[in-house]
C-alpha cells in the first residue's frame, strides 16, 4: 500500500497513532488492551491446542471422568480476569476524564450535519466564517455507478472536499455538533475524535493538534445517514496559528461583499431549531 495515499497515520492494519495527545493515549490504550488479549489468548488457546494434541482418543488417551469440578480453579479463573479488567479500566477512565473536559477551549466551531454535507460555523475570533463542505467534484464524478473512472486515478478518492475545515495547531478547538436532518457522526481518526451529530442535540468534542503536525487530515461520516452516507468526507486543514489568523482575515475580507451564495443552500442558520443543550 502506498503510504502517500494513506488518509491518516495508520499503517493500513492498525489504529493511527494520530496527531493529538488524546489520539496517542487512545493508541496506547488500544495496544495495551490488545497485548493483554494476546497474552490471554496464548494461555487459553495454548491450553486448548495442548488438549487437542495430547488428549486424543486416537493416541490412546483415556478420559478422566472424575474431573468434574474444582472450586479452587473456578475461583482463580473468576478472580484473575477481574483483576486484569481493573488494570484496563483505570487508565481508560483517566483518558475519558480528559476527553470529556471541554473547558478552556480557544476556538469553537459549530458543525452541522446535513444529508450529505457538513456546515462549519466559526465562533470566537473567527465569527462570521460559515460555509459548507462537500465531496470534491472529481471524487463525485468517479463514484457514480458505472462512471468508468478508475478511483485510483482520483487523488484522495472519497476523502477530499471542496472546502475543508481549517483549524490552528496547538490550540484547543471545541466542536459543537448537531444535525439538521438525520444522525451523522464526525470522525477524524488522527485526532482520536468521533462524535454523533444528532438533530435537537448539541454534542461537544475537542481536539488539540500537536504543534509541528500541521497538515491535512481526513475522515468520513461514521453513522449511516442514508443514500450518500459513504460520500460525505471530513477534511481538516491544520495550519500554524499565524497561518490560521491569515486565513481568517482572508475569509472575512472575502465576505465583505454580500455573502457568497455559492456555498450556502436554502437553509440559513437563523432557521436553526436546535435549542436543547446537552448537559455533561
Amino acid at each position: 500500500m502506498n503510504a502517500n495515499l494513506s488518509p491518516n497515520t495508520s499503517n493500513g492494519y492498525n489504529l493511527p497513532m494520530g496527531v493529538t495527545d488524546i489520539s496517542h493515549e487512545i493508541y496506547d490504550l488500544h495496544m495495551f488492551v490488545f497485548w493483554i488479549c494476546v497474552g490471554i489468548a496464548v494461555v487459553v488457546f495454548g491450553a486448548m491446542i495442548f488438549s487437542l494434541i495430547k488428549f486424543r482418543k486416537s493416541q490412546g488417551a483415556i478420559a478422566d471422568t472424575s474431573m468434574v469440578h474444582s472450586t479452587k480453579a473456578e475461583v482463580i479463573w473468576t478472580a484473575i480476569p477481574v483483576i486484569i479488567l481493573v488494570f484496563m479500566a483505570v487508565p481508560a477512565a483517566e483518558t475519558i476524564l480528559k476527553m470529556e473536559d471541554t473547558r478552556n477551549s480557544e476556538l469553537s466551531i459549530r458543525v452541522t450535519g446535513y444529508q450529505w454535507k457538513w456546515q462549519y460555523q466559526y465562533m470566537n475570533d473567527a465569527t462570521g466564517i460559515d460555509y459548507f463542505s462537500t465531496l470534491a467534484q472529481d471524487s463525485n464524478f468517479a463514484r457514480q455507478l458505472h462512471s468508468g473512472i478508475d478511483p485510483k486515478s482520483v487523488p484522495n478518492y472519497l476523502l477530499s472536499v471542496d472546502k475543508p475545515m481549517v483549524v490552528p495547531s496547538g490550540t484547543k478547538v471545541r466542536l459543537l455538533l448537531t444535525s439538521m436532518d438525520v444522525i451523522h457522526a464526525w470522525w477524524i481518526p488522527d485526532f482520536g475524535a468521533k462524535r454523533d451529530a444528532i438533530p435537537g442535540f448539541i454534542n461537544e468534542l475537542w481536539f488539540k493538534v500537536t504543534p509541528g503536525k500541521e497538515g491535512i487530515y481526513r475522515g468520513q461520516c461514521a453513522a449511516l445517514c442514508g443514500r450518500d452516507h459513504g460520500f460525505m468526507p471530513i477534511v481538516v486543514d491544520v495550519r500554524t496559528p499565524e497561518d490560521f489568523k491569515k486565513w481568517v482575515e482572508e475569509q472575512k475580507a472575502a465576505q465583505q461583499p454580500p455573502s457568497t451564495p455559492a456555498v450556502a443552500p436554502a437553509t440559513s442558520p437563523a432557521a436553526e431549531p436546535v435549542h436543547i443543550a446537552r448537559l455533561n
Partner: protein, 535 residues
C-alpha cells in the same frame, strides 16, 4: 382455528397426517421443529445472497454493481433476515426438537401456540422481503431502525413495522412455550440442576426474549406513531428525542445479542462432553455464568452509544458493566477448556464445529473487551472493527454452534448417518473462508474504514478484496451443508439409538430409537443416574 377439532383428533393417531395438512396444522414438536429449521436454512441462504451482493460491490473501490440505495437495502435486510429469520428460528427449531426429548416430555406444553408461532414467520418474512417491490424500495435505514433516518423510508415503512411485530409475537410465543415446557414437563426426578445444559441456556434465553421483545415492539410502534399520527416521540422539532429511540432499541438490542449466543453456549456444552468422553466441567457454575450473562445483558446497552454523547458517569458505568461480562464468559471458556483437558477426544463433525466455536468465539470475545474500552471505542465505533467483532461472535459463534447441533442431532432426527467426509470438508472450508472473510475486517476498521458504506477510499482496496474472496468462498461452501443435510434426510447408513457409539452421549434423547418416533415419551421416562448429565 376452525379445524381445531380435527387437529385434536389427528393428534391421537400414531402416524402424522399426510400431505400439506401435516405441516399446516402441525402440533407435533418434531414437525414444527423441522419447519423452523428448514425455514431458517432458507433464510440463511436468502440473507447470504444479500451478503454476496454486499461483498461483490465492495470487491473493489468505485461503484460497479449496485446503487448506494440498493446497497443500503442489502445491508439492512441482510441483518434483519439473518438475525430474525436465520439465527433465532434455528434456535427455536432446535428447542422444539430437543427440549421435549431432553426433559422426557411427550411434546411442547402448548402445541397449538407452537404452530401459530411458527406460521407467523413465513408471513413476516414475506412482508419484509416484498418491500423490495414497493415504491420507495426496501428498508434501507439499517436494521437498527434509527430515527429520523428510518422515517425517510417509503411505502415499505409500515410493512417493516408490521413484520417486526409479527417476528416479536412469534418469538414471545416460542419463549412462553419453552418456559412452560421446561417448568412443568420435566420427567419426575429431573430437578432443575439435573436438567441438560441446553435446556438451561434456552430457559434463560426465553426469559430474555419475554423481557425485551415487547420493548422492541414498543419502540417500533412509537416510530409508527411518529410517521403516521404526527406524534413526536423521537422528533426533536416537536420536543421529542431521537436518542431515546437508541436507548430503547439497545435495551432490547443487547439482550438480543445474548439471545443469539446463549443457546449456542448450551449446544457447545452438550457436544464437547460427548466427544471428550467426560462430564462437562463445572456444570453448575456454567449455569450460574449463563444466568449472570443474562442479567448483565440488561445493564450494558449504553456501550452501543458511546459516540452519541453521553454523560461521563454513564460512560464509566457502561464501560465497567460491559467489561464485567468478560468474567462469566471467561468462566465458560475456561470450563470448556477444562472439559477437553484429560479427556479422550475424537473429532466427529459436531466436535469440529464446537472446537471451531471455542476458538473463534473467543476471538470475538477479545475484540469485545477492546470495544468496551470507551476511549478506544471512539475509534472503533461504526468502523469495520465492529463488523468484524460481531460477525466473529455470530458466524463462527452462533452459526457454527447451530451447524454443530444439526450434525450432532441430525442422525437422531432422520435415523440416518450423514456423509461424515462431506461434513468435515464443510467444516474445514468454512473455517478457512470465515477467517479470510472476517479477519481482514479488523484491519479495515482500525485503518479507518466506516461500516455501511458502498464504496471506499483506495487504500482500503487490498483487504476488501481479500475479505470478498473469503465471503464468496464461505457462501459457496454452505451449499455443502445443504447437500449433507438433504442426503441424510433421504437415506444413508442407519444410526443407532445412541448415534455416537463409542463416544459418551448422555441424556434422555439418546434412549429413544433413531429416528425419534413421531410420539415419544408418552409416559414419563425413569431418569437413571447415567442419563442425568451432571448429577
Amino acid at each position: 382455528m376452525a379445524n381445531a377439532h380435527e387437529i385434536a383428533h389427528d393428534d391421537h393417531h400414531d402416524q402424522p397426517a399426510t400431505g400439506i395438512k401435516r405441516w399446516l396444522f402441525a402440533t407435533n414438536h418434531k414437525d414444527i421443529g423441522t419447519m423452523y429449521l428448514v425455514f431458517s436454512l432458507i433464510m440463511f441462504f436468502v440473507g447470504g445472497a444479500m451478503a454476496m451482493v454486499i461483498r461483490a460491490e465492495l470487491f473493489q473501490p468505485g461503484l460497479q454493481l449496485v446503487d448506494p440505495v440498493l446497497f443500503n437495502q442489502m445491508t439492512t435486510n441482510h441483518a434483519l433476515v439473518m438475525i430474525f429469520g436465520a439465527v433465532m428460528p434455528a434456535f427455536v427449531g432446535l428447542a422444539n426438537w430437543m427440549i421435549p426429548l431432553q426433559v422426557g416430555a411427550p411434546d411442547m406444553a402448548l402445541p397449538r401456540m407452537n404452530n401459530f408461532s411458527f406460521w407467523l414467520l413465513p408471513f413476516a418474512f414475506t412482508i419484509l422481503l416484498s418491500t423490495f417491490f414497493v415504491p420507495g424500495g426496501a428498508v434501507a435505514g439499517g436494521w437498527t431502525m434509527y430515527p429520523p433516518l428510518v422515517l425517510q423510508t417509503g411505502d415499505s415503512f409500515p410493512m417493516l413495522i408490521f413484520a417486526v411485530h409479527l417476528m416479536g409475537v412469534s418469538s414471545i410465543m416460542g419463549a412462553i412455550n419453552v418456559i412452560v415446557t421446561i417448568m412443568n414437563m420435566r420427567t419426575p426426578g429431573m430437578t432443575l440442576l439435573k436438567m441438560p445444559i441446553f435446556c438451561w441456556t434456552w430457559l434463560i434465553t426465553a426469559y430474555l426474549l419475554i423481557a425485551v421483545m415487547p420493548v422492541l415492539a414498543g419502540a417500533v410502534t412509537m416510530l409508527l406513531m411518529d410517521h403516521f399520527f404526527k406524534t413526536s416521540f423521537f422528533n426533536a422539532a416537536g420536543g421529542g428525542d431521537p436518542l431515546m429511540f437508541e436507548h430503547v432499541f439497545w435495551f432490547f438490542g443487547h439482550p438480543e445479542v445474548y439471545i443469539m449466543i446463549l443457546p449456542a453456549f448450551g449446544i457447545v456444552s452438550e457436544i464437547i462432553p460427548t466427544f471428550a468422553r467426560k462430564p462437562l466441567f463445572g456444570a453448575t457454575s456454567m449455569i450460574y455464568a449463563t444466568a449472570s450473562i443474562g442479567f448483565l445483558s440488561f445493564i450494558v446497552w449504553g456501550h452501543h452509544m458511546f459516540a452519541d454523547g453521553m454523560p461521563m458517569a454513564a460512560q464509566l458505568f457502561f464501560m465497567m458493566s460491559t467489561m464485567l461480562i468478560a468474567v462469566p464468559t471467561g468462566v465458560k471458556v475456561f470450563n470448556w477448556t477444562a472439559t477437553l483437558w484429560r479427556g479422550s477426544l475424537s473429532f466427529e463433525p459436531p466436535m469440529l464445529f464446537a472446537i471451531g466455536f471455542l476458538f473463534m468465539f473467543t476471538i470475538g470475545g477479545f475484540s469485545g473487551v477492546m470495544l468496551a474500552i470507551v476511549p478506544a471505542d471512539f475509534q472503533y465505533q461504526n468502523s469495520y472493527f465492529v463488523v468484524a467483532h460481531f460477525h466473529y461472535v455470530l458466524v463462527p459463534g452462533a452459526v457454527f454452534a447451530i451447524m454443530g447441533a444439526v450434525y450432532y442431532w441430525l442422525p437422531k432426527w432422520t435415523g440416518n448417518m450423514y456423509n461424515l467426509t462431506l461434513a468435515k470438508t464443510h467444516f474445514w472450508l468454512s473455517t478457512i473462508f470465515v477467517n479470510v472473510l472476517f479477519f481482514p475486517q479488523h484491519f479495515l476498521g482500525l485503518a479507518g474504514m466506516p461500516r455501511r458504506v458502498p464504496d471506499y477510499a483506495v487504500q482500503f482496496s487490498d483487504w476488501n478484496m481479500v475479505s470478498s474472496i473469503g465471503g464468496f468462498g464461505f457462501g459457496l461452501v454452505q451449499i455443502l451443508f445443504a447437500i449433507a443435510v438433504i442426503q441424510c434426510i433421504r437415506g444413508g447408513k442407519k444410526a443407532s439409538a445412541q448415534v455416537w457409539d463409542g463416544a459418551r452421549p448422555i441424556g434422555l434423547e439418546w434412549t429413544i430409537p433413531s429416528p425419534a418416533p413421531y410420539h415419544s415419551f408418552t409416559t414419563p421416562p425413569v431418569l437413571d443416574a447415567a442419563e442425568a448429565p451432571h448429577s
